[in-house]
């Protein structure tokens, strides 16, 4: 817990409108996050309450947008417990699997997410689309990462990623593209394996049932 508190205190130095509070032994960060563009200045501001699950820093902190500027609806990616849905699960796992620091989370996950919501409010749609809810969104993630819509192929490739010995970087990629593995599927596989073998095995079981 001491490490988490130290990480939080260090990180919120860059976010002076946030403060750490402790309630009944639980640590939370509350306050405002102004969205500041280097040229255009502050263009929006959100009030948040952030809590840290037991598994933090190996998962994202849970964020509730307390100013309620983001409508609390599933189509705005607010969970029933009012926390924001910040990333598709395998993507979150990939980012946080080895531990995340709070400043990185604020700079690279939360602030961009809030900016995406500001854009959505004005534009009526997210700038780069959105994943479908539930497992369909996870399928979409793997489809996009492996650049294939053939779900059987995706399953077999995921199995290959976790169970097989990967081919050499300079060997021709098994997919038949004629390119070396390092220039073809290596990066895609690395993206996927970052979420952890155990997680992929668990997901594979679920996804196979949906085939």
């Amino acid at each position: 817990m001491y490490k988490v508190i130290k990480d939080i205190d260090q990180s919120i130095l860059s976010y002076p409108l946030l403060k750490r509070v402790e309630e009944k032994g639980y640590v939370r960060v509350v306050g405002e996050i102004p969205l500041i563009h280097s040229e255009k200045g502050e263009f929006d501001r959100y009030e948040v309450s952030i809590r840290f699950p037991q598994s933090y820093p190996k998962c994202f902190p849970k964020v509730i947008e307390t100013s309620e500027k983001i409508p609390r609806k599933d189509f705005r990616h607010v969970n029933p417990d009012l926390t924001l849905c910040l990333a598709v699960e395998p993507e979150e796992k990939a980012i946080a699997n080895n531990g995340i620091n709070f400043k990185y989370f604020l700079d690279k996950v939360l602030v961009p997410h809030l900016a995406r919501e500001t854009f959505r409010e004005i534009n009526g749609a997210y700038p780069d689309g959105e994943y479908t809810h539930g497992n369909s969104g996870i399928w979409e993630f793997y489809e996009s990462a492996l650049e294939s819509t053939d779900r059987k192929l995706i399953i077999s490739e995921l199995e290959e990623i976790i169970y097989s010995k990967w081919q050499g970087r300079n060997e021709l990629c098994k997919c038949g593209s004629g390119r070396k593995f390092k220039r073809c599927h290596l990066d895609k596989w690395n993206t996927i394996i970052k979420s952890g073998r155990d997680y992929i095995i668990e997901k594979l079981d679920q996804l196979k049932k949906e085939l």
């Binding site: 969205l35 563009h37 040229e39 255009k40 263009f43 929006d44 501001r45 009030e47 509730i64 307390t66 100013s67 309620e68 500027k69 409508p71 599933d74 990616h77 607010v78 969970n79 029933p80 849905c85 910040l86 990333a87 598709v88 699960e89 993507e91 980012i95 700079d107 690279k108 996950v109 602030v111 961009p112 997410h113 900016a115 995406r116 500001t118 854009f119 409010e121 004005i122 534009n123 009526g124 997210y126 700038p127 780069d128 689309g129 959105e130 994943y131 479908t132 809810h133 539930g134 969104g137 993630f141």
Partner: protein, 319 residues
């Protein structure tokens, strides 16, 4: 598309920020300093300290469509025999010596507890009230901030005096940003709908009371405003609100029963109409078009830049 009430209210507050009138404000402040200097020079042996800022700007709940830069001049206990002499000395000073001067425009006015003066800065008029007050006990102002004010007679009411504490009024809403936002929104409604009989001080006190009595403060700007509006609707007719600096000053008594009924009805009507159609919120709480920073294209471009600076491009929901 239905109105996002929280976002709209945040835009309303932003467009009414005092920072939008910074240039004009700095000129007003210069005038205010001139008045303070003039008082310090004229009454140098009588004053307990240099004049202090009061009014909404000092309390940080001002809105840029109506604000004042009032000041209060504390005098020593033995400076005048009577409070009336003190009030008249200040009035006479501005009336006699500053009449037709470029510092003071129009006739200086005798008001209930203050002297009213009007400046013209860049073609715009600004009212400033100078409130003279006298220490209760010799030498105790700096310690207690308490002052006695002279209350001029009005219609059937005789002249009287009242105790006040400007610092206490300022401290009242210090560090209460939620309350201040609601107060500013209700002031915007009050000014736009010309609800002159609803005094700002009363709005401040009842808003603070509503928050104090609420065990579970709602999140979101609309939730907070609605909570206070419901509190006013349900309680204004019976509530007793005292000036925290002087319990004899019952601020809720500044409104008659029928005025309180109207205030309660106004809140009910607004709540009902906003409930029926969220767009009615714009009727009562409008963005100040003059300072509407909601330049959507600019904001959209800025949001896009920041959104794409992250490591995640698309949201998802596990539901």
């Amino acid at each position: 598309m239905s109105l996002n009430k929280n976002k709209h209210l945040v835009d309303v507050l932003t467009s009414h920020k005092m920072s939008h009138v910074d240039d004009l404000l700095s000129k007003y402040k210069m005038k205010r300093d001139e008045v303070k200097n003039a008082l310090a020079e004229k009454f140098k042996d009588e004053i307990a300290t240099r004049a202090i800022n009061s009014g909404s700007y000092a309390k940080h709940d001002a809105i840029n469509i109506k604000y004042d830069l009032d000041i209060c001049q504390p005098f020593k206990r033995n400076s005048f025999d009577k409070l009336e002499d003190m009030a008249d000395a200040v009035f006479n000073y501005f009336n006699d010596e500053y009449e037709d001067d470029d510092l003071v425009k129009y006739k200086t006015r005798k008001q209930r507890v203050s002297t009213g003066i009007t400046f013209v800065v860049d073609g715009e008029e600004i009212q400033m009230d100078v409130v003279p007050g006298r220490e209760l006990i010799k030498g105790d102002y700096l310690e207690t901030n308490r002052l006695n004010l002279y209350v001029r007679p009005k219609l059937l009411q005789e002249a009287s005096s009242t105790q006040t504490n400007i610092q206490k009024h300022i401290d009242l809403i210090k560090c209460k940003s939620d309350e201040r936002n609601v107060i500013r929104l209700l002031k915007i409604w009050k000014v736009n709908k010309s609800k002159d009989r609803v005094k700002s001080f009363l709005v401040e006190l009842i808003t603070i009371r509503a928050f104090d009595n609420c065990s579970d403060i709602p999140t979101g700007q609309w939730g907070k405003l609605k909570m206070v509006m419901e509190y006013i609707r349900d309680n204004i007719k019976t509530i007793r609100l005292e000036d925290p600096a002087n319990s004899n000053n019952v601020v809720s008594d500044t409104m008659t029963d029928s005025e309180k009924n109207n205030f309660s009805f106004d809140m009910k009507l607004m709540l009902d109409q906003i409930e029926a159609d969220a767009n009615n919120l714009k009727v009562y709480f409008a963005v100040n078009d003059e300072f509407d920073t909601n330049d959507d294209e600019d904001k959209k471009a800025a949001a896009l830049d920041i959104a794409r600076s992250g490591v995640i491009q698309k949201p998802w929901c596990d539901c």
